[in-house]
Assembly symmetry: C2
Homo-oligomer: 206 residues x 2
DNA sequence: CGCCCTACCTACCAGTAGGTAGCCAGTTAG
DNA sequence: CTAACTGGCTACCTACTGGTAGGTAGGGCG
């Protein structure tokens, strides 16, 4: 039975392991997480965990593929919207914030993977993301050509936006300490999203 | 003592260890780096390394303190410049790019530390950086009050800038793959710096 | 010369990592 | 009732970790 609801009691052990692994890998990284940690979090022993996943690397890859599929789905939906001009850019930014706020652990894993140049994951990370990157570049370029946006180099623009947005989630623990506040409360995420939207609008829309 | 003899340059073994440790920690993180890796990179055995540093943690802390002192010095010089208005903001951004381009390994270590909430380093990271953060906030707030910059929340603005700038260096390996190019060549760094300066100028200067 | 000191070494320690073998309770199928 | 399967367990393996013990080559110096 595959129930789509969030009832934790009905989750299979496999799903519980994936959840715990996601959290541990996001929190302490691949090397910093032991299978004992994950197993203890689930409430079983390490060999039982290895009954569900062939190896640590296989578990990590499964976690990462959950991440990728969720991101691709969420971002492609937003990017394929029929909106245009600034409306579409704002829609994608807000969709990104929603997505990342919902799954901040994914952001931290992605950031760790970017730092490690994707050594731990079998899939070709940049190959997966390049279509989104290219399509975003194409969109901004065409809008700039049409005179709707100020002229910027599209690739640099996307990279700047990628860094500006993801950092708020990946470095949330650090930002917490810097601000003496919780970065990831719904209100603070909304405030920061509004700021980023206004900031990019000011930079792009003449 | 000028112990210039032996194989490499005039650097002491201690300095060679610090250099290699910086590179390893930046590349693979604290947990992902073993003392054997570092020792092998220097060309000695692990116990010899531990003759120069009391423990792995002490070595890491020393590396991190090199980083902090270099950053504090570089950024404080730029931020204490007598310039004002946009000139000063651009000066600080360009100083940051120079600093980070000179020491990209530091950026990656800092990012890892932000992800890990500073567990590996004894010093109070956010306590160290908060003075710079506060002074940057104060500067932007006063300039916005004076009507020189568009109105933005200063804290969010700094965080956005922090993310936008640091990410280019911390995620350079990933960006390399995405662009099929070397992000950290002098020309590409300069191009990206010019873009960030123009982007922030467009967002801030009415 | 003897003596100390630095910088390195080999050999080893206890602890932990990921992973395997095999046993066992509960459930289900025939 | 028995057989097979499922999902957990204990016990164990090898490899490697950070760190220690003890020894040694060589330079400076009274």
């Amino acid at each position: 039975m595959s129930d789509v609801t969030e009832e934790s009691s009905s989750k299979t052990t496999r799903e519980l392991i994936l959840d715990e692994a996601l959290h541990c890998f996001a929190d302490r990284g691949y090397e910093g997480t032991s299978l004992n940690d994950i197993a203890a979090g689930v409430g079983i022993r390490r060999p039982s965990l290895l009954h569900h996943f062939a190896s640590k690397e296989a578990l990590y890859t499964d976690v990462f593929e959950m991440l990728l599929s969720e991101w691709l789905e969420g971002l492609e939906v937003a990017m394929s919207s029929p909106a245009s001009g600034w409306d579409k850019a704002e829609l994608v930014i807000r969709a990104g914030f929603d997505l990342f706020a919902r799954t901040p652990d994914y952001v931290r894993i992605m950031r760790r993977e970017a730092l490690d140049s994707g050594v731990h994951v079998g899939v070709d990370l940049s190959g997966f993301l390049r279509p989104l990157f290219d399509s975003a570049c194409a969109y901004f370029t065409s809008e700039m050509d049409a005179g709707h946006f100020r002229r910027h180099n599209a690739q640099h623009l996307i990279i700047t936006g990628y860094g500006a947005i993801l950092t708020y989630f990946s470095d949330a623990p650090f930002i917490d300490e810097l601000l003496n506040d919780q970065a990831l409360t719904p209100e603070n995420v909304r405030d920061h999203c509004d700021h980023v939207v206004a900031f990019f609008r000011a930079a792009l829309v003449a």
